[in-house]
């Protein structure tokens, strides 16, 4: 065991904990990336609304904020519930 490569140690650990836990962390990792995507979307909505001002700008900004909150909520759900 002492001379085993790190990757193999990790693989053994995951194999012993079962596929359920692997799926859980797979979902959590996906959600972390998605939260970053939601943050980028907020930044981009800022640029878009600055470029072109129209009556829907307020709604679009609110929706982008809600989208980020939903992503954070699901990240927490994935960590806690699974």
């Amino acid at each position: 065991m002492g001379n085993e490569p790190t990757g193999l140690i990790w693989w053994n650990t995951f194999s012993q904990t079962g596929p359920e836990l692997i799926l859980k962390w797979f979902l959590v990792a996906g959600m972390v990336m998605y939260v970053f995507f939601a943050l980028v979307m907020i930044r981009q909505v800022g640029i878009m609304t600055e470029t072109f001002e129209s009556e829907v700008n307020g709604t679009v900004k609110t929706f982008a904020g809600l989208h980020l909150l939903m992503a954070l909520f699901l990240l927490i759900v994935a960590i806690v519930l699974l």
Partner: protein, 229 residues
């Protein structure tokens, strides 16, 4: 959808004399007068059609708008061009149900299916939102002075092109095929004297009316420049 929002065109009585040394509001009034005349000539009235894809004389503003500049026309791609991604989203929303019905997820624990479905639906919501934003904010703006093409290719990439109306050549339109003819949309190509030789609006409604308005505004600007206004 026709004639959703209307506002009265400026009257001749309200128009200023157009002499040199005009102030900001005077310039705006003069611009409104010229726009009113041009729109009357092409038989257009202020209106919003096809969910904002064709908006004549809207109350909007954009980045780097000049003091004496008034937006005459705002164009987006025809709403029918969104059908493709809408069908993809509808199919994707049905996918979890189909996989469950087929028993493909029978071995997966219930709580993982539950959270996985929520994540999937959120991703579809995010994708739809991103596509809507790209469609809504990719606009082709025609003012009494310039043509501005704003393209958001994706969330991280913005392209803005400007062309002065007195630096453009004869605009052209490209329309063909069953769907484009049926829904009356096509491409508008405006050659310019600048290094980037054309400025284009793709899949916009009523391209024939668009080139007529561009030509009239260009001609009007030319005459005003000749008069020294």
């Amino acid at each position: 959808m026709a004639g959703e929002e209307k506002k009265p065109l400026p009257t001749k009585e309200a128009a200023p004399t157009g002499e040199k040394g005009q102030t900001g509001p005077d310039l705006k009034e003069a611009a409104r007068k010229h726009i009113g005349e041009v729109l009357t000539r092409v038989g257009e009235t202020p209106r919003k059609e096809l969910g904002g894809a064709y908006t004549v004389y809207p109350e909007v503003s954009f980045i780097q708008e000049q003091k004496d500049e008034e937006v005459v026309l705002v164009l987006r791609a025809h709403p029918i061009t969104n059908v493709k991604w809408l069908l993809v989203v509808i199919g994707a929303l049905l996918l979890p149900e189909i996989l469950i019905m087929l028993g493909a997820l029978a071995e997966v624990p219930y709580k993982i299916i539950f959270v996985g479905r929520l994540v999937w639906y959120l991703m579809m919501l995010g994708y739809s939102f991103e596509r809507f934003l790209t469609w809504y904010y990719s606009v082709f703006i025609i003012t009494n002075e310039r043509i501005i093409d704003v393209d958001f290719v994706n969330l991280l990439y913005r392209v803005m092109s400007y062309a002065n109306l007195n630096h453009i050549e004869e605009p052209a339109m490209v329309s063909g095929g069953f769907i484009r003819s049926f829904f009356k949309y096509g491409d508008v190509v405006v050659p310019t004297a600048a290094e980037k030789s054309t400025i284009e609006a793709n899949d916009v409604p009523y391209p024939d009316k668009v080139i007529r308005i561009i030509s009239e505004l260009s001609e009007d600007l030319e005459k005003r420049r000749e008069r020294g206004e």
